[in-house]
Symmetry: C2
Subunit: 235 residues, 2 copies
Amino acid sequence: MSTPGRGLHGRVLESLGPAITAGEYPPGSVLRTDELAQRFEVSRSVMREAVRVLESMHLVESRRRVGVTVRPANEWNVYDPQVIRWRLAGADRPRQLRSLTVLRCAVEPVAAGLAAKHATAEQCAELTECALGMVANSRGHKLEGYLVHDVAFHRIVLNASGNEMFARLGDVVAEVLAGRTHHQVMFEDPDPAAVTLHVQVAEAVRAGDAVRAEELTREIVVGALQELDILSPES
Amino acid sequence: MSTPGRGLHGRVLESLGPAITAGEYPPGSVLRTDELAQRFEVSRSVMREAVRVLESMHLVESRRRVGVTVRPANEWNVYDPQVIRWRLAGADRPRQLRSLTVLRCAVEPVAAGLAAKHATAEQCAELTECALGMVANSRGHKLEGYLVHDVAFHRIVLNASGNEMFARLGDVVAEVLAGRTHHQVMFEDPDPAAVTLHVQVAEAVRAGDAVRAEELTREIVVGALQELDILSPES
DNA sequence: GTGACGCATAAGTCTGACTTTTTGTTCCCG
DNA sequence: CGGGAACAAAAAGTCAGACTTATGCGTCAC
C-alpha cells in the first residue's frame, strides 16, 4: 500500500512521524538529534535526514542551541499524503476522516462538473467500467472489490476535471475510502443508493451534463458525510 | 516573505527546487548527488539532506545505483506551500494561478457557509474590520493596503470554517492574491463590486446566514477567475 | 536467444572532528 | 540593586573520508 520504509531514515520516519502527529510530543517539546539517534540506533547523519523531512512537513523546527522543537498542529502540512496517512493511523482518525470528507464535499462536485466538460472518450469508458464494477461488487460481502472500483472511480473523475490541484486529491480520497472500509465498521454491503448515484454520475459525465454531474456527486459525498455522522456523534 | 534559506541545505533547495519545478530537468532526468554537491559547493551530507527534502515533496526519487531521478509533474506534492511558491515564481505562473483559483472556487464558498455557522464573535468582528479596511483602500492606488486586508479577510473565513483542511489553505490563498496583485497587472483600483461583496459576506457571516455567505463568496471567487481569463486567454 | 554470473557504480551508512550560532549565566560597573 | 557586556556551554550545522550495500548492465556460457 504505502512505501515500506525506504532506507534507514525512512524507517525512523515511520516510527517518529506517527508519534508526533498522534500528539505524543506536545507542541513546544524539544528533541535532541543525538538522543534520537541513540534511541533509534542510527547514526546522526541518518537522523538528521529524518529531521529534515519532518521539518519540510512543518511538523518540527530545528534551531541551533535549542534542538528540534515540535510545532503546533495548526502549522503542519496536512495535505502531505504521508502526514495524512500518519494521522489516519492515529487515535483521532474520526475527526481526521470528517475534515477530509468535508473537503471532498467542497471539491468533488466541482471536479465532476468540470469532468463532464473535459473528459475524454477513454475516461468516460473507464468511468462506466468502474461504475459497473461497483454494481457487480455491491452485494455479497465483496467490500474489497467494491473499494477498488470506488477508488478508481473518484480518481478518474478528479483526473478528468483537468485541474491539477483536484487531480492530486486522488490519493487523499483513496486514503479516506480505504480508511472508511477498513476501520469504520461499514455496513456489510454498501448503500445501494450510493451505487446508483455513481452509475448516474458516469452517465452524466458521458453526456456532458455538468450541472447534473455536479449535483449527483454532491449527493454522493454529502451521503458519505452523513454516514460518518451516524457512526460518530458530532455537535 | 518566505523563509530565507535556513542553513546551507536551504540555500541549495532555493536554487534546485525552482529549477526542477520550472521543468529545467525533464521527468526521468538523473542527477548524481556527488555532482550536485560539487556544483553547489557543499558537502555530500548537506546535499543528501536537500535531496531528502525534495524526495519528501515527491519532486525526485533517489535509487541506488541509479541516482536521483526527477519525477513527472503529476506526482509532485502540489499542495506543499514551498512547491506552490516555487511554481508561482516560475514561467507558467498563469496556469498555476488558474488552477489554484479554480480550487478556491470549490473551497471558499463552502468554507464561508461553514464560517457563518461556526464563527465566534471575535472572528466576526475581525472580519468586519477587514472588510472596512478593504473599502478604505479601494480607491486611490492603495493596492498594497488593499491586499493586506484582502488576505486577512479570506484567512479569517477559512479559519472560522472550523475545518482544518480549509484553514490550511489560507497560505495558498495568500500566495494567489499576492501573485495577482504583484505580477498580473491588476487594474489600478480593485473592482468595486468585489469590495461590496466582501462587506456583504462579513454581514452574512455575522448574521449566521450560511447560504447567503456561500453564494456571495462564490460570486467573489468566480469573479476572480473571470479576471484571470480576461488577462490570459484560455480554452 | 536465454539465463546466470560478476563487476562497476552510485546511493547509503557511519564515525569523528571541527565550526557556528545562540542561550543563559556570571560578573563588573554604574 | 539593576543593567549590560563578556564568557562559557550546548546543540545543531558542516565537512571529509572510509566503508557497505544494492542493483543495473554487460558478459559469457549454454
